[in-house]
Symmetry: C2
Subunit: 101 residues, 2 copies
Amino acid sequence: MEAIASPRRRQILRLVWGAERSAGEIASTVRDVSWPAVSQNLRVLKNSGLITERRQGTHRYYKADRQALGPLEVVLRQMWARDLGRLRQLAEEEAGKKRHD
Amino acid sequence: MEAIASPRRRQILRLVWGAERSAGEIASTVRDVSWPAVSQNLRVLKNSGLITERRQGTHRYYKADRQALGPLEVVLRQMWARDLGRLRQLAEEEAGKKRHD
DNA sequence: GACTTAATTTAGAAGTAGCTTAAATAACAA
DNA sequence: TTGTTATTTAAGCTACTTCTAAATTAAGTC
């Protein structure tokens, strides 16, 4: 539960929701945070059983365990939608400010 | 979301789930924590819109806003059940230890 | 007004979460 | 072996959360 309380982890969870992704892909997508930070969050998610890990060569692939997520899926989708809404709102405010410069 | 991540707040939420309760009732039920701590948690819950407040005289009554909780209800019930399970498990371990003394 | 009861606010301490940088591991290639 | 790439671990820092104790507000009573 505390696992999905973190916005950062929700962001990561969304990335590995549909498809398996390597730690590197995830880290370079997130971008506003260091690789170790991503790695640490991946571990938290893995330890709470919310994602699975598969190693292959030097790569590690992560994927959301939607079975384990159960009823949290609904909550997550709701929060992702809300996050998008906030982003749009921020963008609009930004545009509004620009217009008044 | 961060609001229900705290075990303390989940405990409080369960108390005000079925019926309205005054801050005092809640605080004296929780017991292993000071009144101000309860009061602060109530405020967090109220600010996230998860509970409602009704003032009457010197009393303030709180109640879970089940509408606002929406899909979180399922998750909460699951966690409460898990909490109970943990309690039972602890009790059984305790009993087992006693038997071997 | 002075007193009591109900509850909150404030101030500060202790613990924890999430981040960063630097160092370490692990698999593979030359 | 040495080097390279992918990723994690370690150590340390800062900010936030949750708690306590003390002070404060607010409503009602004498």
